[in-house]
Every structure is written in structure tokens, then in C-alpha cells.
């Protein structure tokens, strides 16, 4: 996601970069392009206008005059302003209350409330070590309660059961009472999707809000939402005074302008992003990364964090120790690395976060697909332990066997061996000369068709 906006802004800003000097007139022209880009990204028109006005004010005058290149300044102003509008820094959940901390979920139909409820509960259990109780007040949508129950079982959270004949307010109150007795840390209340103009349903959720006094009320909004995001967000905020926003389905290719709209019109921070189908596919929202992503600078910080979290530290250390001891990097280690790449959401997931990736054509990106990684792993799997440690012994008939065993071609095996050799060389450099050289070495090799 945000890729297309990145592309678009990338193009626009390149025009600016090419100009020797930024005059009032060509700021105007460029801002028009930025406006178009933001509108194509579904940022609501009033929000766009306000944003551009802020950018214009900051771009014209002092900051432009003092700059080294005008393009840098404009990129910086647009980026800074984007970060600023989106809330400057990440804001986490506020759970500082006498337990149980109650989190109320709200939003339109189909925005992803139930899935987000379960993902957040999982996140709270895993990261914050909280004891979480889930409860559904959605007595309307068929099987909504069952959906949350199934998810609760999946993540092994407590579930407070409710019936479609119960009153939503009672369900919520009873769940909180129950949580108090059971020493539960956090109660997450899922609610039915509702339209912001549906007065009856809005007063229902208002009553739930009043009855359980949640410390966090989250507004869940689909990142693909169009111009109407401002109306829905404003109405929900007027009714519930929500404390945060969760932006869902950001693993798609929508440009995600709704984030800007919702933030600006309600003043409430976006706290989380839904990033996929799996239960752990949720991450903290960082305005600076988000803005960098929009501007095509890549999400380096996010990448580093994700690597830290997902990469099995122990295995990585084992490889490191082995290398330090002077023993070579073998195909077993290569296999571990490949497995870790696929753990981190595969090549696609990694590439999305790297800077400049938005300028690489999709066709090229698709070549480095996860199938390739899978293929490499399959080939190594088809090798004997001896072959994995001493790849030099892999000659004609062994190659044939490995190709057969992994459902690949001999050429693939050759390619793997060649890539492995390059990798080995690089690792040797690291153990000799340290990290700096490795990065330099990589630069040269990346273009030679390494899969990563």
C-alpha cells in the first residue's frame, strides 16, 4: 500500500528536483500536482486544501531561501507536514487504569472490527503479557458472536459468551463485571458495524460507552475508504469521543489517504495498522514511517524492527558463532537465512519496506517472488548432509538428483550454487573486515541477480 502514492509523489518531486530554483510560480504548479496525488490517494478534499495551505506557508519564504536545493526543501516540507498532520509520533494504547482496562471497538460495517479485536487481543497477550477477555455485542450480524468466539479460542484468550437475544449494553456491563472478578487485565468489547447516520444504532453504542467507561475507544476504518471517511469519522467522534484509530487492510494497494482525513478531522491518533490476514498481522502506526513511505523513502525503521522481532535470534547467533570460529558458511546456514526471509513475510514483504522500491517496476519485483525462495529451500532440502556442508562435491549426477528431488531444473541448481558461492564470499569478508565491507560488497552483487 501507499506504493502508488509513493510513485506519484516520487514523479512529482523529481520534477522539482530537476529545477534549479523554486519560484512562487512553480511551487504553485507542484502543489497542484501534490493536490492531485493526495486526492487520488483518497484524502478528503477539505483536508487536502488545509494541508496544502500549510505546506505552502512553510515552503514559501524562509525555508526555501535558506535551502541548498529547493527540491530538498519541498520534499522536507511535504514530508514534515505529512508527519505532523498524522500526529508526529506513535501513540500506543493507554491501559493505565485500575483493571480491567476496557477497550471499546467501533466502526462501520465491514471495516474489520472483529478481526482487529482479535489481533489486538493477541498483540496485548504477546507483547504486553496481558490477560485479555473478549466479548461481542454484535447481536445483529449472523454468526458475529461465533466469529469472535472462534478467534478467541484460536489465540487462547478468555471469551465472555453472549446471545443474540441479549441487550448489547447488558452484555458489555456483565463482561466487565465478570472481568473484575476474574482479575482480567483488559476487556475488549466488539460491537456491531453501524452507519454513522443511523441514530438508533449510534445511541446504542453511546449507551455501551457510557455503561462501561472505556479507557480506549477505537474507531476501526478501512484504509480503502474514500472521501466519506471524514463524515463517518466525525460522526463517530462526536458520539463517542474515540481515543484512537485502527487503519485496516493496509496490505492492499490502496493509497490510504483516509488515514490523513480521519486524523485531521478528529484530531485522534492512528494507533495501529492491520497488515494482513494472519492473527499477528497488526503493527503500531508510526507517522514518520508512514510519511516516508508516501514519499518513497521506504520504511527502514519498520524493517529493522520486524527483522528483530521475527528473526530467530538464537539461530542467527549460532551462525555468527560458527563464522567467528572460522568454520565456513554452508548451505545449512543459507537455508536458515532463506527460512527467515520467508518468515518475515517473504521477499514481497521485505521489499515493500526498502527505500526506492516504489520506483522499481512491479514486473521486476515479481521476479524476486517468494516462489524463488521456496525453490531454493526445496533444493537444499533435497541435498544430503554432506552436500550441504561441502557443496563442492555437487557435480553432474548429484545435480540431476537434487533437481529431480526438488522438482526443479539443473539450471536452477547451478544458479543456487552460484548464488551460494557469492554469499559465502561475502560472509568471509564480514568475518575478516567487518560489516562495512560487506555492505559495500553487497552493493556490487545485488545487481548480479541475487535473489535478495
Amino acid at each position: 500500500m501507499f506504493d502508488q502514492l509513493s510513485q506519484r509523489l516520487g514523479k512529482v518531486l523529481k520534477q522539482v528536483r530537476g529545477q534549479a530554483r523554486l519560484s512562487e510560480a512553480n511551487i504553485k504548479e507542484t502543489l497542484k500536482e501534490v493536490k492531485k496525488a493526495l486526492l487520488e490517494a483518497d484524502v478528503a478534499l477539505p483536508v487536502v486544501k488545509k494541508f496544502l495551505e500549510q505546506v505552502r506557508k512553510r515552503a514559501v519564504g524562509r525555508e526555501v531561501m535558506e535551502s541548498l536545493t529547493p527540491g530538498q526543501v519541498l520534499i522536507k516540507v511535504v514530508q514534515e507536514e505529512l508527519v505532523h498532520v498524522m500526529g508526529d509520533e506513535n501513540q500506543g494504547l493507554n491501559l493505565a487504569t485500575s483493571p480491567p482496562a476496557v477497550i471499546l471497538m467501533s466502526g462501520l460495517q465491514g471495516s474489520g472490527k472483529t478481526t482487529t479485536t482479535a489481533k489486538l487481543a493477541h498483540w496485548l497477550q504477546e507483547r504486553e503479557k496481558k490477560k485479555v477477555l473478549l466479548v461481542s455485542c454484535d447481536i445483529y450480524r449472523p454468526a458475529a458472536i461465533e466469529q469472535l468466539q472462534t478467534l478467541a479460542e484460536q489465540i487462547q484468550a478468555s471469551f465472555f459468551s453472549s446471545q443474540t437475544t441479549d441487550k448489547p449494553v447488558d452484555i458489555a456491563k456483565n463482561a466487565v463485571d465478570f472481568a473484575k472478578k476474574q482479575f482480567i487485565d483488559v476487556v475488549m468489547i466488539d460491537t456491531a458495524g453501524r452507519l454513522h447516520i443511523d441514530q438508533e444504532m449510534m445511541s446504542e453504542i453511546k449507551n455501551i460507552h457510557k455503561a462501561v467507561a472505556p479507557i480506549e475507544t477505537l474507531f476501526v476504518v478501512d484504509s480503502m475508504t474514500g472521501q466519506d471517511a471524514v463524515h463517518a469519522a466525525k460522526a463517530f467522534h462526536d458520539s463517542l469521543a474515540f481515543t484512537g484509530v485502527v487503519l485496516t487492510k493496509t496490505d492492499g494497494d490502496a493509497r490510504g489517504g483516509a488515514a490523513l482525513s480521519v486524523r485531521q478531522v478528529t484530531g485522534q491518533p492512528i494507533k495501529f495498522l492491520g497488515i494482513g490476514e494472519k492473527i499477528d498481522a497488526i503493527e503500531a502506526f508510526h507517522p514518520d514511517r508512514f510519511a516516508s513511505r508516501i514519499l518513497g523513502m521506504g520504511d527502514i525503521v519498520g524493517l529493522v524492527e520486524e527483522v528483530q522481532r521475527k528473526v530467530d535470534k538464537e539461530k542467527a547467533e549460532k551462525i555468527a558463532r560458527k563464522i567467528q570460529k572460522g568454520k565456513g558458511f554452508d548451505l545449512n546456514d543459507f537455508r536458515e537465512q532463506l527460512l527467515q526471509i520467508s518468515k518475515m513475510g517473504g521477499m514481497a514483504g521485505l521489499m515493500d519496506k526498502m527505500p526506492g522500491m516504489s520506483e522499481i517496476p512491479d514486473a521486476v519485483k515479481n521476479q524476486a517472488n517468494d516462489k524463488e525462495v521456496g525453490k531454493l529451500i526445496a533444493m537444499i532440502n533435497a541435498m544430503t548432509p554432506q552436500e550441504r556442508i561441502f557443496p563442492a562435491i555437487i557435480k553432474g549426477s548429484r545435480k540431476k538428483r537434487i533437481a529431480l528431488g526438488s522438482g526443479t531444473q539443473i539450471q536452477d541448481v547451478n544458479k543456487l550454487l552460484k548464488q551460494f558461492k557469492q554469499m559465502q564470499k561475502m560472509v568471509k569478508q564480514v568475518s575478516k573486515k567487518g560489516m562495512g565491507n560487506m555492505l559495500r560488497g553487497m552493493k556490487g552483487r545485488m545487481s548480479q541477480g541475487m535473489p535478495f
Partner: protein
């Protein structure tokens, strides 16, 4: 929801639609009355179009078109401007306004519902089943084997409408469930199979491949099946709806579109671009939670609703 608990229907697009043409004139005159044709008025129109999710490019081209007509002297006053704008907008949609008619043959007639997560596929299936049940025998296929309790959700609809549901457990192969449903409908001489599928983002290649498999498996029974492949789009979706429609169409070949959730303040203006670029029929719009709140798409009324104020402030 779904007319279960709410007896007093709120003012919705339903009423707007019922008033149809009459209201159209009214809205447009509101917007134009007593106004001179100038840049302000044109900019206001462009704003309205953009705010309705028509998209910046199309909105600009529509306005440019009007400007040309003004410069050529074809539009002289605001009422002519209003007329020309309506005509232009309706013309874009007209070709897409086709009713979905179930032909006498073949039997069973298979309708496959696809779309991204939360678009309203299952609810639309419930509404369609309710409509078609009046004249045909209907069977539901619980092809969403991924999302928790999706099978149960469809089963609730089945019970509510007394329509049989073919289902397997969550995690089963979607294609095999739908294949079973098709065979079962054949054996029982049922007219229509309505097949649900899991919501999926159009960017997920593996999930799109799964839909291709569903189509492939169905075509083994009959080369023409599925006879309809309908994309369900959330009416609140912005410019990405066009990307979705293009990708689904490219990957699995769509035969029509259902636009849901138009009972809020979202205008669904992205359908103009979809209609223009993909020329797919827009069969239905969803305008409420009641089981009857699925209406044929009417360009006139749709264009009218586009210019209604989003919020009564």
C-alpha cells in the same frame, strides 16, 4: 441489522430512489438556481464530484467538457448547465444499467460472489437469495472456508430464508465446497446456486489463484459455469475500487458488479470510472440492512443522490 430488530426504517437512499426523477430535478436546481455560470460554480461542481469519489481525473474531464460546451455557446444559463451535467453523468452509467435476469437455461445457474474483505458478499447473497427465491429454487454454497464463522453466517441466512446451504468445515477447500454445491443442485434440480467466497484483497496472488481454481473446477461440470461472477464493492471505497475491479476482472473475469452500503453518506462515485473503463453491468446497489434493501441500479437516481449534501449540518 437485517431488519431483525429495527422496525422504524430510517430515511435512506431507498426513499430517495422512490422519489427518483422528481428529486433529481430538485437537487440540481438547488445547486444551480440563481447562479451565474462562472468559475466559482464550475469549481463547486468539481468539488462535489471529487467529494463523491468520482476521482480527480474524471471530475476534471467532466468539468472541462462542460467548459467546452459553454465556450461553444451550447450552454447559456445555469439550467442548461445542470441539464448538460446530468446528461453527461447519466450517459457514462447508462450502458452499465442492466438488470440481472436469470435465463431459463442452463440449470443450475451458478452465481459466484467475490470481493475484498468486508465488502458485503454474504449479506448480498442473503438479499439475492431472498429475491430469487420468490421465483426460483435457490441453494447457497458456503465457499468462505477461511474466515472464522463465515460458514455459520451463511447458515444463519439459509435458516432464515429456508434455503439449503452446502457447507464443509472451516479450512476446507473452497473449490470443492462449491463443486459439491453445484453437483448437489444438479441432483436436486435446483435453479440457482449462490456461491459465497472468502474476502480477499486483489493484491494477494495466491488467493486470486484460489478463485481461478474455483472457476476451473466449476467449468469441469459445465464449461459456462459460473454463469455470473459478481464483484461486490463497498460503496464507501475510494479510488482503489477501480483497481480492485480491474484486478478481479483481469484475474477471474467478472460479469457484473454489486455496489453495497449506499445507505450512508458515501456516494459511490467511483462507479463512473468503473463503468467507463470496464464496461461491466452494475446489477444492484445495496441501500440498507433489510433483506429487501437490494435494488436495481438506476443511473438517474444515482446521479441525483450524488449531489445531495452528505451531512445535514
Amino acid at each position: 441489522m437485517f431488519g431483525l430488530s429495527k422496525n422504524n426504517p430510517k430515511p435512506s437512499l431507498l426513499q430517495k430512489l422512490q422519489q427518483g426523477l422528481q428529486r433529481t430535478r430538485h437537487h440540481f436546481s438547488d445547486l444551480f438556481t440563481g447562479k451565474a455560470i462562472d468559475d466559482d460554480l464550475l469549481e463547486e461542481l468539481e468539488t462535489q464530484l471529487i467529494m463523491a469519489d468520482v476521482g480527480i481525473e474524471l471530475s476534471q474531464s467532466i468539468i472541462e467538457n462542460l467548459e467546452t460546451q459553454i465556450n461553444q455557446g451550447k450552454i447559456k444559463d445555469s439550467s442548461q448547465l445542470s441539464e448538460a451535467l446530468q446528461q453527461q453523468l447519466v450517459a457514462i452509467l447508462d450502458a452499465s444499467a442492466k438488470p440481472l435476469l436469470i435465463p431459463k437455461k442452463p440449470r443450475p445457474y451458478v452465481v459466484l460472489m467475490v470481493g475484498i474483505n468486508g465488502a458485503g458478499k454474504t449479506t448480498t447473497i442473503g438479499k439475492l437469495a431472498n429475491q430469487w427465491q420468490a421465483t426460483h429454487s435457490v441453494l447457497l454454497a458456503a465457499g468462505d472456508t477461511f474466515r472464522a464463522a463465515a460458514v455459520e453466517q451463511l447458515q444463519v441466512w439459509g435458516n432464515r430464508l429456508s434455503v439449503p446451504v452446502i457447507a464443509q468445515q472451516t479450512g476446507a477447500d473452497s473449490a470443492s465446497v462449491i463443486y459439491d454445491a453445484y453437483s448437489s443442485a444438479q441432483a436436486k434440480a435446483i435453479d440457482i446456486v449462490l456461491a459465497d467466497t472468502a474476502g480477499r484483497l486483489h493484491t494477494q496472488n495466491n488467493l486470486m489463484a484460489e478463485l481461478q481454481k474455483v472457476k476451473r473446477v466449476l467449468s469441469k461440470i459445465s464449461p459456462e459455469a459460473p454463469h455470473q461472477t459478481l464483484l461486490v464493492i463497498d460503496g464507501g471505497t475510494g479510488q482503489n475500487a477501480l483497481v480492485q475491479a480491474k484486478q478481479f476482472h483481469q484475474d477471474i473475469g467478472l460479469t457484473g458488479i454489486v455496489l453495497t452500503k449506499l445507505d450512508g453518506t458515501a456516494k459511490g462515485g467511483i462507479v463512473f470510472a468503473i463503468a467507463q473503463q470496464l464496461a461491466l453491468p452494475i446489477y444492484y446497489i445495496g441501500i440498507g440492512e433489510g433483506v429487501e434493501d437490494l435494488r436495481p441500479f438506476e443511473p438517474q437516481a444515482f446521479v441525483s443522490a450524488l449531489f445531495e449534501p452528505a451531512v445535514t449540518e
